[in-house]
Symmetry: C2
Subunit: 319 residues, 2 copies
Amino acid sequence: MSVAELIEGVLNQKRRYLARLISLIEDEDIRALEALSQLYKHTGKGHIIGVTGPPGSGKSSLVTKLTTEFRKRSKTIGIVCVDPSSPFTGGALLGDRIRMQEHSLDDEVYVRSMGTRGHLGGLARATSDAVRAIDAFGKDIIFVETVGTGQSEVEVIDVAHTVIVTDVPGSGDDIQAIKAGIMEIADIFVVNKSDLVGADKKVTEINAMLDIDQRERAWRPPVLLTNARSGEGILELVDSILAHLEHLKESGLLQKKGLQRSRDELQELMKYKLTKELSQKLQGKPEYENAIKMIAKRKQDPYTVAEQLIAEFLFSETR
Amino acid sequence: MSVAELIEGVLNQKRRYLARLISLIEDEDIRALEALSQLYKHTGKGHIIGVTGPPGSGKSSLVTKLTTEFRKRSKTIGIVCVDPSSPFTGGALLGDRIRMQEHSLDDEVYVRSMGTRGHLGGLARATSDAVRAIDAFGKDIIFVETVGTGQSEVEVIDVAHTVIVTDVPGSGDDIQAIKAGIMEIADIFVVNKSDLVGADKKVTEINAMLDIDQRERAWRPPVLLTNARSGEGILELVDSILAHLEHLKESGLLQKKGLQRSRDELQELMKYKLTKELSQKLQGKPEYENAIKMIAKRKQDPYTVAEQLIAEFLFSETR
């Protein structure tokens, strides 16, 4: 499949071409970058919603319910499920296909799982490109769902305009510690499984944490109680999502975030391209292999060798 | 404090100098790299033990008990506690100081927490350098403890010779999915809190997962039941740790892993240095700022601009 065919297929909303493009992104095929580069001007229209939170906090069911609700409002949907915890095995999330059965016959809902197979450039890079492909394809709303609350999840979710952080009643101390880091990226908090004991207490706790934060802010993240199974609180969540988008637009933050994202992405891409170029140049070079042995033997140190190799192989035009 | 003083202080086992060096590492101070580069030949002696697993699985108590046991055997100990989940707030882990009180008067135990504050080069890079500093300082055993089981935790733990993966009885389906990814990095499994219902079942489950894996391997990870509170199973764990180190030595894997680590680290360092150099050169340049605006407006695409900026600012000698 040529780059031109890929681009045409995606712009004509053919799912098969979108699937192929995302596979090429995952494989870091050169055609993916070429296609994305040309598709870029068709992006920037979708509302990207990140959903993250600890394991078992019902992210998948929440996204399914939100999809149902947005479909009623004639919005088209893309869903990217990211699992940063499988660096070796890759592949789809467990139960992924099962849970999206509700929308499997709906052509206006596109679901894609991403493991970490391949992705020299990192999972965040691949996710960002996959979201962009879906954006160019024309989906109105794109969910990025990721398990967990670690650094890599934060990077993955960084692509989103609106970030929903999910939690469940009664999580332990250790999990509390985790949440401190993610408090700041949340635009909306959702305490899911509202039927469990301690749900109201959890809402109070999160609100208390928000109260401590004395910074001035135009948007205070709402803390919502939901029950993805019964559907309780889903409408309020949809309202909050739309209100947040409105806030981003009115406050000028949408534009500001766009600039920041362009800056971050440009840096990431330059880093990626440089690393790739250098590793191609070093591949199989005896000086390189020898240096590695000397480092392992502690006869040379990696800090000095890194500088030497860069000077010799990347900046020397004579080679 | 000069680089020479730092080096001398660390080699003479002055804790204050070690603490200072690790702070410089965290701040990405140029002196840190200089010191590490010269300290490198004094490293490679410590046994680095990674401890990871889901929140609440008792990693901290386990490390405390192991420390007590290794101290009885006159081993000196370093502990690096890493929290990859706090990208914004940084700082020490909750309860960190409290839990290590048991060893706080013992000069032969050095404990250090690392958040993700700073660390342009990444948390894994900073952790690896901190472990190296402690190694040069002369600690016999260095624990690297990290919360969670995501990609970033795997990267952090990558520095270890022996990886212990902890778990507790009765974790949900979602957590099961997480574990698939770290099965392959575990050298020893520990089911902690053996007094909880389902502990034996969990041991059976992990063993069943190991049975499925049909690859040939000289080391089959043992699955141990422990109770960090009562001390049950700690001696067996120590035996397994020592047996694993022996296995690494006898099989030649220790050397092989050392080579692989040198290769990985060299690559990481080159990447780090290149990125740093490029961002210094781009800082404040009007072409750069303008390109970011054009990307945000979708008038240029980041893929093409990244290549142009690299060619123009990094490879052009005339600037």
